[in-house]
Symmetry: C2
Subunit: 110 residues, 2 copies
DNA sequence: AAAGACTCTGCTTAATTAAGCAATATCTTA
DNA sequence: TAAGATATTGCTTAATTAAGCAGAGTCTTT
């Protein structure tokens, strides 16, 4: 990955289906990076990178406990985008798209 | 692990059987961190930490190639300790001890 | 409009850093 | 000197950083 300079733009951050699904996961519950990673069919670093983008954009908050890092949606910051997110979530488009892509990856690896 | 401030003392670095075995592995051949890790029955980070101690003590040299790091003994720096090392190696005490410890860990985990 | 060159995004693999735990060794001090 | 407190070592688990690759989108230039 390129140097990954901090992206502060919330819209850019939420333009990715993967990141919208992550936000969905931490919308009501605080979750560790590991729990989040397990919910998707990609590697830990892939999730770690997406968490970073969301954090840089100020959309999620991180709290460290022991060796874990817990993430939670920053609802205040997400306020203006909430209805957009809810409509995406309700249609489940993102989730299906990500599953399809995972399937693709599995296939092409074999 | 504590902050791990750089240990520059070669003797201290070589006081560990694990690290003596690592030096043995990279004595004649340059090897990647991964190759070295695979040679032992402990986790990658454990090996990474030991490589760091050896490097800080100036006993091994690191070279980066792509995403890999290659390590090799610094024979010049090891000169005065070479006969000590060779005698340890020839008796294979360290290797056996490490194998025994791995066995221990396996047992106590079950 | 097609062909090639660039850039961007999201991922993988390789390796490290960070925090903490358990066992041992090393200091007190009563 | 036995008993407890404290430090040190070597590991594990959790998570990140670093480098690079492959595919999609965007720009030329012809």
């Amino acid at each position: 990955m390129a140097p990954q300079l901090a992206v502060r733009d919330p819209l850019l951050a939420l333009s990715s289906p993967r990141r919208r699904e992550i936000v969905r996961l931490v919308w009501s519950d605080e979750r560790s990076a590991g729990e989040i990673a397990r919910a998707f069919e990609v590697t830990w670093p892939a999730i770690s990178q997406n968490l970073r983008v969301l954090k840089d954009a100020g959309l999620i908050k991180e709290r460290r406990v022991g060796t874990s890092r817990l993430y939670r949606a920053d609802r205040a910051a997400l306020r203006p985008l909430e209805s957009y997110l809810r409509s995406m979530w309700s249609r489940n488009i993102d989730r299906l798209r990500l599953l399809a892509e995972a399937e693709e990856r599995r296939k092409s690896k074999r």
